[in-house]
């Protein structure tokens, strides 16, 4: 494991002094030899221009799970280091070239023709061709791969190759979120995909080659010297260190052992805001949103008025300030501001109005009800559940908190056996809006944990999804209709939108995330 520098200048003299003082007390041998807290690994040079060299250490709260390589999960930091995608979105959700240099959607939306780079090599030395795109799509169609955008991948029914570097994807119907798939779908090496799936060998076309993995501890990468992007990457290597304990991760950043992290809790980020040692960047894509889910077969919550009462009862502002350290935006819809479905009026439809909540409960003929309320048993989610519990109590809804561990909750979500209420976060609203309703489980029109189903909702969602365009006024009108159903039915009670927050040591430059949280370090470098 590589060791990294401790914070510089201000502490030096004191540290030197203390070292001298403690030398006689038995720490002499430690201080006299190399220091694990002081070993630097940054290249020489100034901050003005990108520099080659150095190993970047990224602190992650969750270990890499190879079986979720093709899914979006908490460990998607690794994907874009080893692999590439066909296209990548810019800030305005417009696709930009990556392995595909250009694309043409047929006027009827029933096919997409892609032109591919002809100068790309896999880390094994094999040339990347159109066959690899065909393999990648089929790979996501495999149910064992657990990929969230499977419904979009499954809409690809045929492939027409025109040489090694051009192919047409034939679609069962127009698909408005096809570029979400191109941003999501990593292109793996077909020869080693099973080894990739078990985490023993990761071979892609990306900027870094996989060198070593110590489960529970670290995963390391070295520069791909034959990367197709000339002069990139700048870094010699990357080490993703697994530090599951939030306080330890914070300490690791403060001591300079870790350069960069996206796993710092909102309230901890708030404590680093005034520290010049760190640069904090919020990704306003809104990749995550906090919500209360309601099981429509549960007692009382089957009544729409009760769900609406809950939506009025919660104090979203307090939640964002106290539980998320201010890193979030209150909202009663799932859409972040960058989404074509976003509207200010919808986002602020529900706000804190306990009186209105009591009125709705009274109309439903209910006073003093008690509901079970599940939440993840980690400290962050427990705090959120407790804040919500207090708010609901003020309007006469007692809740019995059910702290639940992640695998149990996942099983209950999939098997639709959640209690009457639960709180969790969801993703996928940062993309084209149809993706949310066909791929994010809480909103899925065909099957969701709330057991909500409505022919009208299904019809609007399918219409929005099966369009060749995603930004036209007609498309936006459909998104508004989806939003109206969500606001009225409240089977998912949205609370706040929160994106990933980057905490970077002052030496780190140029790290970015894509819409799915894949870490892109093509242009990243370490200053002196």
């Amino acid at each position: 494991m590589t060791a990294f520098p401790a914070p510089s200048a201000p502490g030096l003299s004191r540290r030197a002094l203390l070292r001298g003082g403690l030398a006689g007390a038995g720490l002499l041998t430690l201080a006299a030899c190399r220091s694990a807290a002081d070993t630097a690994s940054a290249p020489a040079g100034d901050a003005a221009s990108p520099r080659r060299g150095g190993v970047l250490t990224v602190g992650a709260g969750v270990d890499f799970t190879p079986a979720l390589l093709f899914a979006q999960s908490a460990n998607t930091l690794v994907q874009r280091l080893v692999f590439n995608t066909l296209t990548r979105y810019d800030d305005k959700l417009q696709p930009q070239p990556e392995l595909a240099t250009s694309w043409q959607v047929a006027p009827d939306g029933a096919s997409v023709t892609l032109k591919l780079r002809d100068d790309v090599l896999f880390h094994s030395g094999r040339k990347f061709t159109a066959d690899d795109v065909v393999f990648a799509v089929k790979n996501l169609q495999n149910p064992v791969r657990s990929a969230q955008l499977r419904s979009t991948a499954a809409a690809v029914t045929d492939f027409r190759k025109n040489g090694d570097f051009e192919l047409t994807l034939v679609l069962a119907h127009p698909v408005s979120n096809i570029f979400d798939l191109f941003e999501f779908m990593i292109i793996p090496d077909s020869a080693s995909v099973e080894e990739a799936f078990t985490g023993t060998k990761l071979i892609g076309t990306g900027p870094y080659t996989f060198t070593d993995r110590k489960p529970g501890s670290s995963i390391t990468f070295a520069r791909n010297e034959k990367y197709w992007n000339p002069g990139r990457p700048y870094l010699d290597g990357v080490e993703v260190r697994i530090v599951p304990q939030a306080d330890s991760l914070l300490a690791s950043l403060k001591t300079g052992q870790t350069h960069l992290s996206y796993s710092i809790r909102g309230k901890d980020v708030a404590t680093l805001k005034s520290d010049p040692q760190f640069r904090i960047t919020s990704y306003d894509t809104g990749a995550g949103a906090y919500y209360i889910g309601a099981n429509l077969t549960g007692e009382h919550v089957s009544d729409k008025r009760v769900r609406q009462a809950i939506a009025w009862a919660v104090d979203r502002d307090r939640l964002v300030q106290q539980a998320l350290g201010g890193y979030g935006t209150v909202s009663s819809t799932p859409w972040p501001k960058s989404s074509p479905a976003f509207s200010e009026a919808s986002a602020t439809r529900y706000h804190h109005d306990p009186e209105k909540a009591r009125q709705l409960l009274k109309e439903a003929g209910l006073t003093g009800i008690t509901l079970p309320f599940a939440h993840s048993n980690d400290p962050g989610n427990t705090a959120i559940a407790q804040i919500l519990q207090y708010d609901l109590k003020q309007v006469g809804i007692e809740t019995v908190l059910q702290p639940t561990d992640s695998p149990t909750m996942q099983k209950q979500l999939i098997s639709q056996t959640m209690p009457a209420l639960w709180t969790l976060s969801h993703g996928f609203a940062q993309l084209h809006p149809a993706t949310l309703a066909v791929s994010a489980y809480p909103f899925n029109e065909a099957k969701n944990s709330s057991r909500f189903s409505s022919p009208a909702y299904t019809e609007i969602v399918q219409k929005a999804w099966k369009r060749p365009d995603s930004d036209s006024p007609e498309a936006k009108a459909l998104y508004q209709q989806i939003t109206d159903v969500l606001l009225d039915e409240q089977f998912v009670i949205d609370l706040a939108i929160a994106g990933l927050t980057e905490v970077a040591g002052s030496k780190v430059r140029g790290a970015t995330l894509n819409k799915f949280g894949y870490l892109n370090l093509d242009d990243a470098y370490l200053t002196a």
Partner: protein
């Protein structure tokens, strides 16, 4: 000695067999399962069923148990479901880190407990004995995760003397490895050292009240000689038993300490295995820990028998 060992062995094996059965059953009883965990939050029942079949979880429980034990006896620990790779490799990698941590902590336990125990029992001035008592009480009362956070705040964040967390192999870089080891080992060792120190103190005090001590004192043997050459050896057998039990506590405590210091040992592996319902990893590891307990207990009994001949003649 051999007869003594042969008498103890069958009970150890029985414990292992029962433990294997319990470990297997308890894992199946906790909610959630590997297939839904691996399927991800947006999977449908088809995907979950496909993964369950792939992992062999659709077989009857008895069949699953017998397959596991059969493979184990033939030396095959099987593949990990979620973490990836073979369980034997994962345990192999984790074991050296945990052994480093546990041995480091064990050494500190002995180094701390011996002087504390002797000082506690022999201090002529009340404040010294009271200070030793207060120290051991405080160390026992503060849980390791608090000690760990305090150590990190002081030595890593404030003083910048030691790394906040991580691990380095002793074979690759012993000087760095020692610095990575110091805080987790201290954190892990303190409660066990306090327990052992108290046992030693009581043992020495009991020995010092014996008639032979009075006789020795009467004939002019120095107090230091009496304490170190007579009282301490008499207090050692029971302290060794306690030390043996503390090895188990150290292994168990490592789960927490490894988490605080991002130490990639077996504790981290068990935690990851439980979180992801990675049955093979958790089953094999828990059984291994039981085996370590049984072996340590056996060794403790042997050491006890060696130190006190009355035991092996029973």
């Amino acid at each position: 000695m051999r007869t003594f060992l042969l008498k103890r062995l069958p009970s150890g094996l029985l414990v292992l067999l029962l433990a294997s059965f319990l470990v297997f059953l308890i894992l199946r009883l906790i909610p959630g399962d590997p297939a839904t965990t691996l399927a991800g939050p947006d999977a449908g029942p088809q995907a979950v069923a496909a993964i369950r079949a792939q992992l062999g979880l659709d077989e009857p429980l008895v069949g699953q148990y017998l397959t596991w034990i059969g493979n184990l006896l033939s030396g095959d620990l099987g593949p990990s479901y979620a973490i990836g790779g073979q369980v034997s490799d994962l345990i192999g990698n984790g074991i050296s880190a945990t052994v480093q941590l546990t041995l480091g902590a064990l050494l500190l336990v002995v180094l701390l407990a011996l002087p504390l125990g002797v000082l506690g029992a022999t201090a002529r001035r009340r404040p010294v004995a009271a200070a030793v008592h207060a120290f051991t009480t405080a160390v026992l009362a503060v849980p390791p995760f608090v000690t760990g956070v305090l150590l990190v705040l002081l030595f890593a964040v404030t003083l910048g003397l030691l790394p906040a967390g991580g691990h380095e192999s002793f074979l690759d870089a012993p000087d760095l490895a020692l610095q990575y080891l110091l805080m987790p080992a201290v954190c892990l060792a303190l409660p066990s050292a306090a327990v052992l120190a108290r046992y030693l103190k009581d043992g020495i005090e009991r020995a010092l009240a014996e008639d032979y001590v009075r006789t020795a004192t009467a004939v002019g043997v120095s107090r230091r000689r009496i304490v170190w050459l007579h009282a301490l050896p008499n207090a050692l057998p029971s302290a060794v038993t306690v030390l043996g039990l503390q090895v188990g506590h150290l292994v168990a405590g490592a789960v927490l300490v490894e988490r605080i210091f991002a130490w990639p040992g077996l504790g981290q592996l068990i935690e990851q295995g439980v979180i992801r319902r990675d049955y093979p990893v958790v089953q094999d590891l828990l059984l291994l820990i039981v085996a370590v307990y049984v072996a340590v207990q056996l060794l403790t009994d042997l050491a006890y028998a060696w130190l006190d001949p009355r035991i092996r003649w029973e």
